[in-house]
Symmetry: C2
């Protein structure tokens, strides 16, 4: 039986996760869940973000489903670093996966794109680069202050995520784009490029391409249909996936997985959107991204049929909306769950 | 008399710079120019990119007008680092300025934007951050390889570019957005944010805002009209300005200045586009970006009226085009130069 740790989190996280669980109940019948109350409330009550005991308990699960964390009452960065990034590093979630699709019914800010035109995934490295926290400040607050940030990259870390990306490209349209900034970041860029080229030699069936991050950012806006799989470092991936979310209709619909492909620790699945305190508690948050994150979870737990059923149901849900459609959080979950149930029965 | 060093460079660089000089001849009558043959040809002939003697000569000029450099025959990065970045660092060009405007006649990939809707400038730091080359590789080529890149930031360097951005915001619509990634890059982000907040206290008339780089990348796509001036670090600026170019119709039209605001060394002005070897020599390259870069040059040399005349002429040139218009490089330069001459006579 699959054991899922559920972290609803803050704001609309609570509401959308309830809907994701409705869908999971039919897509992964009998799954066991444990709920963890982490986020702004725990932090404001105890000053703790992720107690060691909770981290160990989470580690006993097959996957983590997370709603959203963040609240104006908590200083910026505390929950992000203490929870989200901590999980990525502690659980060795080295594949940060972000599928980008333009769904029928979703509205892109781009002119001249139709549903189906945009369909790619970004494989973002999740445990290295500028995200390790290395660096420091000297003479802080004085006119002489200096601050450094260090990007740490290993052959081990780049190779494993590049291999994962090649495997995904093989299961998709067979085109993989490496994004970096080799003309300026020669040290890390060299490592990434050499590793990429070496692994590419093992995948003669995959067409490959290299783009500088600035060019890739532009191409995501003016020719997003040319991408299939993108592999890139931690920080570039952070930026590119938000552009990807923008061109496919906003982060409201995007889902992400912080994945440990070796299953040595649980992976985390979540909507990309935040806790949206301004609309929390009103039952009007769109749970589609949270529901889509269960499809990524199902894929990771090797349930491709269930994952496909959730994706198909989400697509129908979005296609059935028009610009005037008012979201009722609970109704969306009911509709999608019923659709999934129908498909799997 | 103003002394301008002209580096036509490679590919279409040669062609578009000739047009920029036509315009400069009427906008800055009697300026003296020295042409420098730098780029792929020099490199392929001598292995040199920017000889020290040439660097000293360039330093005797009031400004540098550059076409484009780069050719498939030169290994990637060599000319970029050896010429463009070298000039930025040697000449302390700490303000990398990129205006973004959606011109009438230009076609944005965004739906629902009209000319005039997008009008902002990015003030990108040009001499620090991840562009210093600090970092290295160890055990290169082996399974044990590591690679580092170090972002170096000083109070001195952040404060001067932030002050420049506040001054520009004062001359524009009075809104300044700081972009960084303070929730992850706490060391450099802390320095940038504290410096920004301190300088902001001296500018009560400027409204300020902070955005994480991933959010800013998204907002440039789905609400670009909300920006007036953006100030950010070297690498973030590199990425954001390409998104900005994309939403305003492509890098074909964008111009940039690598500016030393203190005039202790010359500043460089250039189109953002590359050398486009595929269309070089045919007389069909659009010189509008190169011409726009002369407007930035004129502003820097304190000729606001001449700069405004060039901008107005460029705007009319673009407004007069439609999607079927075939560019003849030489005719564009003639038209814009005549328009500028008319305005200034
Ligand atoms: C919240 C933040 C630390 C995080 C990141 O930068 O990775 C977020 O932007 C994301 O993309 O998951
Ligand atoms: C060519 C390259 C080194 C340069 C940069 O990264 O700054 C370019 O992309 C730019 O934006 O001027």
């Amino acid at each position: 039986m699959s054991r899922i740790a559920v972290i609803p989190g803050d704001g609309i996280g609570q509401e959308v996760i309830a809907e994701a669980q409705k869908v999971l109940a039919v897509a992964l019948p009998g799954y066991e869940s444990t709920e963890y109350d982490l986020g702004a409330r725990l932090y404001n009550r105890t000053g703790e973000v992720l107690p060691e005991t909770v981290l160990s308990e989470l580690d006993e699960h097959d996957a983590i489903l997370l709603g959203a964390i963040g609240d104006p009452s908590v200083p910026p960065g505390v929950l992000e670093r203490g929870l989200l990034l901590k999980l990525r590093f502690e659980f060795d979630q080295y594949v940060n996966l972000r599928p980008s699709r333009l769904y029928p019914g979703a509205s892109s800010p781009l002119a001249d794109v139709k549903p189906g035109d945009i369909d790619f995934v970004v494989v973002r490295e999740g445990t290295e680069g500028l995200y390790t926290g290395a660096g420091g400040n000297l003479h802080t607050g004085s006119a002489a202050e200096i601050a450094t940030e260090e990007s740490l990259n290993t052959r081990y870390g780049t190779e494993r995520v590049i291999r994962d990306a090649f495997e995904r490209a093989k299961r998709r349209r067979g085109h993989l784009t490496l994004v970096h900034k080799t003309n300026v970041l020669v040290h890390a860029g060299g490592l990434w490029k050499r590793t990429f080229d070496e692994v590419a030699a093992e995948y003669p069936g995959i067409t490959t391409e290299y783009q500088h991050v600035d060019a890739a950012a532009m191409f995501l806006v003016n020719r997003p249909h040319t991408f299939d799989v993108i592999v890139t470092d931690n920080l570039f991936g952070d930026i590119l996936t938000d552009i990807a979310a923008a061109v496919t209709g906003g982060i409201g619909l995007a889902a992400t997985g912080s994945i440990n492909p070796d299953h040595t620790h649980p992976s985390t699945f979540e909507p990309v959107h935040g806790s949206a305190p301004d609309i929390a508690g009103q039952g009007i948050a769109d749970p589609v991204a949270a529901i889509s994150s269960t499809a990524l979870l199902l894929e990771h737990l090797n349930r491709p049929d269930a994952a496909a059923a959730v994706n198909a149901a989400v697509e129908r849900e979005l296609a059935g909306r028009d610009s005037g459609t008012k979201i009722r959080t609970g109704e969306v979950g009911d509709r999608v769950a019923a659709d999934v149930a129908g498909q799997l029965s």
